[in-house]
Symmetry: C2
Subunit: 225 residues, 2 copies
């Protein structure tokens, strides 16, 4: 069974790649260079894909700085730092990128249909405090309808299915799953800042470090602070 895996190179997407392989899928990974602040993640995505031994890795290039609207695509908007999990849970954060998962899933859908894949895996997670609207189950259900109605494959045969193995897992549970699957955490990249080593203080680093700490584990990735 062919599958397209949305791979950012982070903890979540690396875990779903290994999950898809464990599910018996022939994996085609897709990453997006949208001129994000943390383009460093693209290098990690490639390394993780190579380590996992996937069939083909695609990078799609476009520029979401054309209109910005997010701390990840506009350098004039500062990254939030050293926020508590409670603070993160209050609002949709400035790291929200307008329509990002919709754009990502649309390209994955096109790629999946072109190669006659049956599944698209995405590592969204409704419980990670982020508040992103495009990570919630009702949104994924709406995209599934688009997958069914917006393609030749969905109209004439079986629709391509969106698979979301992490949607109801806590970050600690994702790490436990990844440990079972052998995900190479040291090759992944979660940090939103644009440094050579992970900053340790942005929301993404904060969530990750808190989850490793809660499990009594050490994150093997190097951190600046």
């Amino acid at each position: 069974m062919k599958a397209v895996i949305l791979l950012s190179g982070g903890l979540d997407s690396s875990t779903i790649l290994y999950k898809a392989q464990a599910d018996g899928c022939e994996c085609h990974t897709i990453s997006f260079d949208y001129q994000q602040r943390h383009r460093r993640e693209l290098q990690s995505a490639l390394t993780v894909a190579q380590k996992a031994g996937i069939v083909k890795h695609q990078v799609v290039n476009f520029d979401l700085r054309q209109w910005g609207g997010s701390a990840l695509t506009d350098d004039a908007i500062d990254l939030p730092q050293e926020r508590s999990l409670h603070e993160m849970s209050q609002n949709i954060p400035v790291t929200y990128v307008p329509a990002r998962n919709t754009i990502f899933l649309s390209f994955a859908l096109g790629y999946a249909e072109a190669i006659a894949a049956e599944r698209v895996y995405i590592g969204v997670n409704a419980l990670d405090y982020s508040g992103y609207p495009d990570c919630r189950p009702d949104y994924i259900q709406a995209m599934q309808e688009v997958f069914r109605l917006g393609t030749k494959q969905g109209r004439e045969g079986e629709p391509i299915n969106i698979v979301v193995p992490l949607i109801n897992l806590k970050k600690t549970e994702i790490i436990q799953l990844g440990n079972q699957l052998g995900v190479p955490w040291e090759l992944t990249w979660s940090c939103y800042a644009n440094g050579d080593v992970a900053c340790g203080v942005c929301d993404s680093c904060g969530l990750r470090l808190a989850a490793f700490a809660e499990l009594g584990l050490v994150d093997p990735l190097a951190y600046a602070s």
Copy 2:
């Protein structure tokens, strides 16, 4: 009221741009350079946008030849030529590009949210014999749900609305509407082939010429045959 208009430079999208202006919208146009065979249309989109006097024109660049799957994105797949309207109505044609309108609408959604627009206009048309799955009303309805659930604007306030003024019009009725609105047909581009003048024999030219002829009108665009 701000609106984002998907403008390919063709007959349908040029008509909806003029319709959006007649509706009182401040228009932001968006075109896509996806390495389509008929990239000539991008020049027409710009010219039409300038003629209409819009606020801003964006071109988003990406490459759908990375996986192909369509006569418009893979030169190894021949364009259909000189087909009757009946032949065109039989199947989803090889000019169908996997997930194209989903990709286009996703970018339009991101742009619309970033500039706080209230509407996205798209010139889809369910009756033009094309059979494209991503031009039908149930598909647009599914995308509207994505617009509502997948954005901050949709979750916290009023969702951005997809407006489809042409969805139930015949091509002849679109031309009549465009004539009322003063659409400059001579600046538009519908041809799928990659020539300096429109080929006159591809499906897109065929539909357009048949509609002008049915109305007893002359298409002011130059044709090779």
